[in-house]
Symmetry: C2
DNA sequence: TCCTGTGAATGTCTTCACAGCC
DNA sequence: GGCTGTGAAGACATTCACAGGA
């Protein structure tokens, strides 16, 4: 377990992939060293933040010079656990699941699709993005045989919790949930969610907010139907 | 502009849609009132947080009783600007764009697809999810004619900045970016990003981290190629 | 001189704990 | 008695500002 290292804050962890992507661009451009200032600009954050974030990985910069692109890339990939690929199983091959299966971006960035699974037997056997669809009941077997590390839930909300339970039962400890619902997992399992409509609703809030002062008065004549007894 | 209301923290805004979704479920179940405790459980957060979040909207609860589901739903929809639908234009009809166009979830939750646009003339004219694909050059016209409020960037990274610039030029002030790259917009424009591989990389970090102590030693014999002069 | 690495200051978010109202 | 609404405390995150090494 080597020497105990400073714990990396969650907010920093969420930015590391952005730096990684930026560093890959710099590497492609043959750039040898990069200052925190310029890296910050490219990554869309501020320079002090970049320096603090990178300092959690270790002192990998050189004062008066900057960071060595190759070396920082290496260290960051290691820290993110990206020195080898992680097989992904996509559960639910509807519109979204199929798009993810066809989307090359996962494999390119170290997360090849290792299996497709669906609860609908009518879909089992067909090919999507070069992968055959298996039945949900075969999940345990697939996870074990293909050394699958991450589960992606792309089912409707209604099935998501059961799928999560099955993924956990199959030994998966990393889950990405696209279903628009809260999914509970044991504390040793990591789960992250992506909810597309939720993002649009957040945008809607700010649009609404910004329109408020502009005479545009979107909802002006709405009369609230207050329930009795909640007048504060 | 009515009375000046307390500014709602960003972290709270991001949770409002989750409460909204939960309240819709409660409404479907005919539940009349709900306590912060139970709402918290359903939304996957803690009760004090729910109460504080809801208090930013106003004092809509009743002590000793809880919150009236219908009334809270109404107030929250209003605050989120969801009392009417917002048309969305999807730019880039590849795998992801097409999946989004076919995905009914947007329209269901108040964001109907108003137009599809692509830079590839070979795609122009064909139908995806019942919508005809137009050329990117017609963006201004489409946005104006169809009262489109939100732009979704579903292009490869390389084209994303130009698309964002065009959306802004067409008068769009809310953008959701799926392209894995940093996109800059003027400060009056709201932009949010969804990066699928980035989420997987974050999961990878925690997997890596948790594996460290378990004798599993994933990357043990890697020798770093340190650049000269960066030994601290 | 330049740019990193980091304490200290500031700002934001979460959680506690309880007064106040139903 | 039960549950909200909110000050206050505490945790976390960002930004400042500068010492110190290259």
């Amino acid at each position: 377990m080597e020497r105990t290292r400073r714990r990396i804050p969650e907010a920093t962890v969420a930015r590391l992939p952005v730096y990684l992507r930026t560093l890959l661009e710099l590497q492609a451009d043959q750039t040898v060293t990069i200052s925190s200032e310029r890296l910050a600009e490219m990554a869309g954050v501020n320079a002090a933040k970049v320096r603090k974030d990178l300092s959690y990985l270790g002192s990998y910069g050189t004062r008066g010079v900057g960071y060595d692109v190759e070396y920082l890339l290496f260290q960051m990939s290691r820290e993110l656990g990206l020195t080898n690929d992680w097989q992904v199983v996509i559960v639910g091959v509807g519109n979204l699941g199929a798009a993810l299966a066809n989307y090359g971006g996962f494999g390119e960035r170290g997360f090849p699709v290792g299996a497709l699974v669906d609860a609908d037997r009518a879909k089992v056997g067909s090919l999507v993005g070069g992968h055959r669809i298996h039945h949900l009941d075969d999940l345990d077997q697939l996870v074990a045989d293909r050394a699958i590390a991450i589960g992606v839930i792309a089912t409707p909300a209604i099935g998501a919790q059961e799928v999560a339970d099955r993924l956990v039962a199959a030994g998966i400890t990393s889950i990405l949930n696209f279903a628009p619902t809260v999914v509970s997992v044991p504390s040793e399992v990591s789960i992250r969610k992506v909810d597309l409509a939720l993002e649009l609703q957040i945008l809607s809030f700010y649009r609404q907010r910004d329109a408020a002062g502009e005479g545009l008065k979107v909802e002006d004549d709405l009369v609230a139907l207050r329930p009795a007894g909640s007048v504060n």
